[in-house]
Structure formats: structure tokens, C-alpha cells
Amino acid sequence: MIRLLRRLGYALALPVLLLVVWWITTDDSENFYLPPLRTILRAFAETWTLERFQADVLPSLARFAAGYALAGVVGVTVGLLIGGLRWLRALLEPVLEFFRAIPPPVLVPVIMLFAGIDHTMKVVVIAVGAVWPILLNTVEGVRSVDEVLVDTCRAYQLRRFARLRHVILPAASPQIVTGLRQALSIGIILMVISEMFASSNGLGYTIIEFQRSFAIPEMWSGILLLGLIGFALSVLFRAVENRVLAWYHGLRRAQRSS
């Protein structure tokens, strides 16, 4: 209990300090673009009502979830294939590095041409941007499966599918999770950006609308909300990771202490 409180104290100390500093430095701010935190928080409460959540936040999150899931399925499946087949890897690796190097936001106008400006476009943008870290980390994870483990599988006659499901996938899972974690923040960025281009609802759209109509405290409150959503998603991610990779963290602890 005391340890939990202490950890909570450590976790909260800096955010609280930053908020206090923000509060004090902007308290008597006359700058139109930098309103006092007080004003922003009031705007937050007034702006982000349940109604607005349903109209703007939920569609954003739904598109994010769809795009992220798509990126996950495609990234892991293709990554397992490329990682497992040497000739495919030699063929595709340079191309993959090229695609990875393209900043995903520049693809938004291009994808708009193909996928229109509706939900599909946004989901595709999120997926196209988020798929790379997942794909490349999966390839790396499959490639670095311990050769003794591979020999063990072969000696015990584990066939292709069993080997993939029971050995290669779990062995690569720590790296896959790393890729998924990187993809999470990329996905959130693209969720917002895709809505700034052509949209009639969503978080990115709303923030841009506030900015264009000079509703500055509301704009700030939207940015604050985005930060909170990103934070909540990463906490959720970590909780899932701790469950799925419990064996890995245990193994690492055991290796360190020996």
C-alpha cells in the first residue's frame, strides 16, 4: 500500500508541477493566443460534453481502432512471412526501408485520391502509417529467434503451422509488441492529421475548427484532451503488455539476477 502510494507520488509529481507552473505563468496572461489555464479548464468542461464525445471523440477513436487493428493484422502476418522466408526478405527489404522512410502524413492527399474522403480514407491512412514499425519489428523478431530453439523444433518434428503458432510467434512477440507500441503513437498522430484534411467530425477536425474560428481556449482544451487520450491508450497498452509478456519480463528479471 505504501509502495503503491509512493509510486503514485513519483508518477504524479512532475505533471502536477507542470500544471502549477502553467497555471501561475499564464494566470494574468493578456495574450489572446495563450489564455490562462483557468480559462482553458473552464472551456474544457464546457466543450467536451457527452454529446460532443459521441459526435467527435468516438468516431475518431473508432477510426483509430479500425486502422490500428488493420495495421496489426497486416503487419504481423506479412512480417511472419517475410521473416520466415529468406528469399522474400532479400527481395522486399530495400523496398520496405524505402516505404518506411516516407513520412506517413504526406500520403494523406494521395490516399484521398484513391479512397475518397470518408471513413475508409482515414482508416487507410492510419493503417498505412502504423503498419511499418509493426511489420519491420515482426520481421526482426522472427529473424532473431534463437537457433537452439529452432533446432529443438526441428528435432521434435514440429510442423510448419505448429512451429509458427507455438514457437515463432511467441518467440517474436516481445519485438512485435515493441512495434505495436511505436505504431500506437503514429496511429494517434495520423488519426488527428487525417481529420484535419477533409472531415466533418472528429478530434482533429474540431481542433482545427476552433482554431479557425478563434475559439482559442477551446482549441487548447482539445489539445489537452488529445494528450489525455494518448496517455490513457498507452496505460491501457502497458496493462495488456504486462499480461501478454509476463513470461518475458519474468525471464529478463531471472537473467539479470543470475
Binding site: 537452439v148 528435432a155 521434435y156 510442423r159
Partner: protein, 263 residues
């Protein structure tokens, strides 16, 4: 049961070729416990991988139960030296032992019985639900042995399985192997660099030369079948055999020095 004929293995490097094994011929009969011993770096692991079908020989062949080995054959189980890398860390002890049995069409109850019996046989009846990395090195190697015997192999291949555990654990595991061998009637090919271990365990010891490896001598170990650490190791005959193997290996090392110096 197991026949190695004219086995040769050359690794192709970028600049040069390394001849790990020159010419090996020996047989292991059904139910035998044979130890392969040689100076360190004499291609023992290479040999075992060829026998297991994990590595293709450059020339010669391995025959198992009347058939040439071209890939890992059914009925062979391998225990590797690196237990920490050979067990699946995301599976519990029980699931580790069970995984190789899954593709056999066994009834669930039958499979569970095999797993339980094997774990009990290696003295791990009470850690079914632990993960391998929660166990000591010796216990992890016991799990690997349990996995091998649950697989019900005709031949059990062991690649320096006790090289990484402490001396006391090693003695216990040696006795465990003798006991399992006698109880199960399985054929065992045991690779080691430890002379004492080879003499203590084996019915027969095959002494290898340094790399490029050939068989230097085959030695029948005429110690009593019933062996234990205290008395067997104190027998004059044990000391004699041990001394003989030691001498042979020293000579094998020196014999190797000549071609290395000139070549």
C-alpha cells in the same frame, strides 16, 4: 540401431574451408549407452547435429533404424547443452513437455499421463505450473530430459547436457540418466568432453581425436551395471579406464598439433 558411416563435414567459410570431421565410422546397438568423448572443439556438436538430421554431412551418411537420415527422423529426441535456450520460456514446465506430443494422435488423458510420468521420472512432479526460468539450471535440464523421454524416442541424443551445471547437480543428473536408461531401455548416445563422466556413464566409450575428427579408439567399459557415484568412482578399474581415456585424449591433442603447426 544407429550407424555412422564415413561421416565427413566441411564448413565452407568465405576464405577457407574448415574440416570439422574427417571420417567417422561407428555403430550404436539397440539399448546401448554409448559416450562420445574427445578434446574440446573436436566437432562433437557437429557430429551430434549430423546424427540428429539437423545438419547435412559433406560425405558419408548416418543410418537410423535401417534408413538414411536426411532430416530429423521420427523416434529421436535431442537434449541440448543450452537448456535455457532449448526450453520454451513462454510455456510452463508442463506445456514444454507436452508440446512435442501434440501432433501425435493421442487421447488427451494418455498425453497427460505421459507428461506426468515423465516429470515424475526426473523428480519434478511438483513444478508443473512453474516457468522454466523460475527453476535452477539443473532443474531446467531435468525438464528438457522429461520432454525427451515423454516423446518416447528409440534413441536419445545428448549434447554435453551437463556442461553448464554445477558439479553436485551434475552427479545427480548422471545417476538420473543411468536410471532412466535402465528403466526405459532406450538407446542413448551421450556426447561429453568430461572423461570421468564418459567412463562413469557409458557401456562403451568412443574416443575421438581433435578436429578434423576421426575415431581414435572404442573402449568397452567393463564396470558393473549397478553404478553409484561413491563406489564406482573409487573402483581401481574405474581409475584405470579413466587414466587410459585421459592418455588417449592427451595423445589425440598432441597428434593434432603437428598438422596445425605445418598447415
Amino acid at each position: 540401431m544407429l550407424e555412422v558411416r564415413g561421416l565427413r563435414k566441411v564448413y565452407e567459410g568465405r576464405q577457407r574451408q574448415v574440416e570439422a570431421i574427417r571420417n567417422l565410422t561407428f555403430t550404436v546397438d539397440k539399448g546401448e549407452l554409448v559416450c562420445l568423448v574427445g578434446p574440446s572443439g573436436c566437432g562433437k556438436t557437429t557430429l551430434l547435429k549430423c546424427v540428429a538430421g539437423l545438419l547435412a554431412p559433406t560425405a558419408g551418411a548416418v543410418w537410423f533404424a535401417g534408413r538414411p537420415v536426411t532430416r530429423p527422423p521420427e523416434g529421436m529426441a535431442v537434449v541440448f547443452q543450452e537448456y535455457g535456450r532449448s526450453l520454451f520460456p513462454w510455456l510452463t514446465v508442463r506445456a514444454n513437455v507436452e508440446l512435442p506430443l501434440k501432433r501425435r494422435k493421442l487421447r488427451r488423458a494418455e498425453r497427460a499421463r505421459l507428461v506426468e510420468e515423465s516429470l515424475a521420472a526426473v523428480g519434478l512432479a511438483d513444478v508443473h505450473h512453474a516457468y522454466p526460468w523460475q527453476l535452477s539450471g539443473g532443474m531446467q535440464q531435468r525438464v528438457a530430459i522429461a520432454r525427451a523421454i515423454a516423446y518416447q524416442p528409440q534413441v536419445l541424443l545428448m549434447d554435453e547436457p551437463f556442461a553448464a551445471v554445477d558439479a553436485q547437480t551434475r552427479a545427480e543428473l548422471e545417476d538420473l540418466i543411468r536410471e532412466l536408461w535402465r528403466k526405459l531401455g532406450v538407446t542413448v548416445l551421450f556426447v561429453t568432453h568430461d572423461i570421468d563422466e564418459a567412463v562413469y556413464l557409458g557401456q562403451r566409450v568412443i574416443i575421438l581425436t581433435a578436429s578434423p575428427t576421426v575415431v581414435r579408439e572404442q573402449l568397452t567399459i567393463d564396470l558393473p551395471v549397478q553404478r553409484d557415484q561413491l563406489h564406482t568412482r573409487a573402483l581401481p578399474r574405474f581409475t584405470e579406464l579413466r587414466g587410459h581415456v585421459y592418455e588417449q585424449i592427451q595423445m589425440a591433442k598432441q597428434g593434432a598439433r603437428v598438422p596445425v603447426a605445418t598447415g
